[in-house]
Amino acid sequence: MRFLGLLLLLLVLAVLSLSAGRVWLGPIALFDALMDPEGAGRMIWNLRLPRLLVGMIAGAGFGLAGLTFQTLLRNPLASPDVIGVTQVAAFGAVAALFLGAPVVLGAWAGGLAAVAVLGWLAAHPRHGIETRAVVLQGLALAIFAAAGTEALILRMGDSSAGMAMTWLSGTLNAAGWAEVRRGIWLAPLLIPLLLAGRVLDRLELGDDLARALGLRVGLLRAGLGLIAALVAAGSVALCGPMGFVALAAGPVGRLVAGGRPSPLAAMLTGAAFVTLADVLARALAPAALLPTGLYTALIGAPVLILTVRRMARR
């Protein structure tokens, strides 16, 4: 029932996203346009539809990766965009652009490197990974990677620098059908995370109990963490490091699923969140085409503030 509600919300947002922009379309005009891809609907089919799809794919990836990291590290703040995974992936992507290599590969290399560095930095000789420390280490890693990316951008020419600046806050302005096709290639990576709901459920009980239930905890944590890093980095390659989607999707999806870590709910929430932000980006300032990531940050930062506040109360 709740999932149905979430799906319905996503659908409504998708329709809104197709009708919003410099030219607003009513429901009937939108339907007509969708039926006529060659004539009146060309703008919808060539611009708004791929934009919507790329946003939903990237949002789904961010949401899934967010929930996975948060559950693996048992910390609602440990989402890839807070702990620096997306920022390092963005650095990798820009570096790949700089060297003329495929952007996705750069982003993947960055995401994996971030996980490795964080694991090393936060490892405790006796207690394994200190999850609270991961968050702080990641915070610094994020700042470091963002500065490195800007430095790299400064080395590029001025024209590409402007584009990269927008891209770094996360934008869908460049989304076309090529990006949609690239996004579809990410789907196989999403499947293991989607199916991991029961595993996440048990990992949440604590390592000892999970082990008693027959899980190979270390292997699962490493495997799921690496896949989640690849998914988050893949989303970054599509639309840049859109802030706070991964952070907010986990807790909100959990709320929808009645407190359980539900990958499906997190995925739908992530997709809905990016779509909502993109509708806002085009509805509020259609001429300026501000980066969608600014709006996800504006909506998502309060989620982070509330989470910290709740930690402080406890």
């Binding site: 006796r126 609270r132 500065a147 800007e150 400064l154 080395r155 309060p302 402080a312």
Partner: protein, 328 residues
């Protein structure tokens, strides 16, 4: 007096860095050109013009903001009882930047005094807000997190406001990433005293803050007015951070690193001694970071904010790694 010799050495080092920063850059000039520019300035000589007209304001600005941010860091770390506090990491700088940008957006061009006033107000508000969000008790981890959330919120707002202004990309860059490229002597003449006032206030109340941090009863037994001491501390942070933001935009990590270096230079230093040591350490850090930013990628340059993030973030990570290993 273990303090004085150390202070002397540090300030001499800062002076050396200052001269180096005046000589080196996109073009390197030998010391005798610098000497001629300082003693017998000839405005028609392009080399001397660059040194006096472009590099001197930058280097002096670096000196001021380095010292001010370092002192703000010392005070914040003491008042929050948190070794990871820093005006950049806690969103205080971002708050000041947002206040200035809001002012520029609504009121148009502003005089330096108004910019400084806005930055002060923004810094103070953000400092109070982040302390409230982080809550009391052991907030070692929560304070930087609350600060990160606040700064991303503030920075997103800054970006939103300025990106809607088509011709404002340079301003946008300046208020997002701190830089000294726009430092000018007239503005510095107004803002440096503001930062200086913050440092003086800190020096005056450092002992009271330290006594207070030993415990509220102890403080009351010593006859301290808790609210007033905290108020002065907050004012000092706002003055130092606000003036720095007004000069150079939001610059992070000096306030984190300089106090730690100060405690290294003089272990068991009192808060007053930390303040005294943090001034040259922060100033030196800012001058060196700015010099590196100009020198490494010449003839272009890396903004001071970027340089410090790349130097400072690893320090932050290593500090936490050490805290984990010692803590358990």
């Amino acid at each position: 007096m273990r303090l004085l010799p150390r202070l002397t050495v540090l300030w001499l080092a800062v002076l050396a860095g200052l001269f180096a920063a005046l000589c080196l850059g996109a073009q390197d000039y030998p010391p005798n050109v610098l000497w001629a520019a300082l003693t017998n300035f000839d405005p028609t000589d392009p080399a001397q013009g660059i040194i006096m007209g472009m590099r001197l304001p930058r280097v002096l600005a670096a000196l001021v903001i380095g010292a001010a941010l370092a002192v703000a860091g010392v005070v914040m770390q003491a008042m929050a009882r948190n070794p990871l506090a820093d005006p950049g990491l806690t969103g205080v700088n971002a708050g000041a930047a947002l206040a200035v940008v809001l002012g520029l957006f609504w009121l148009g061009a502003l005089s330096q005094i108004v910019v400084a006033g806005l930055a002060l107000a923004g810094a103070a508000l953000a400092a109070v807000l982040v302390r409230y969000l982080a809550g009391g008790g052991d907030n070692t981890l929560r304070l930087p997190l609350a600060g990160a959330a606040l700064s991303s919120l503030f920075m997103a707002l800054v970006a939103l406001i300025v990106l809607t202004q088509p011709e404002a990309r340079n301003a946008y860059r300046f208020w997002m990433v701190g830089s000294l490229a726009m430092a000018q002597l007239p503005a510095l003449a107004v803002l440096a005293p503001v930062a200086g006032l913050g440092i003086v206030i800190t020096a005056l109340v450092a002992r009271q803050i330290e006594a207070l941090m030993l415990g509220a009863e102890m403080g009351q037994a010593l006859g301290l007015n808790v609210g007033r001491v905290m108020g002065f501390g907050l004012a000092a942070v706002a003055l130092c951070a606000g003036a720095s933001v007004a000069i150079a935009g939001p610059v992070g990590f000096i306030g984190l690193i300089a106090p730690h270096l100060a405690r290294r230079v003089l272990p068991q230093a009192s808060l007053t001694q930390q303040v005294a040591l943090a001034c040259p350490l922060g100033a030196g850090l800012a001058i060196i970071a700015d010099l590196l930013g100009r020198w490494l990628v010449r003839p272009s340059e890396l903004q001071l904010g970027l340089m410090l993030a790349m130097l400072g973030a690893p320090v932050f990570m290593v500090l936490i790694r050490r805290m984990i290993r010692e803590g358990a």
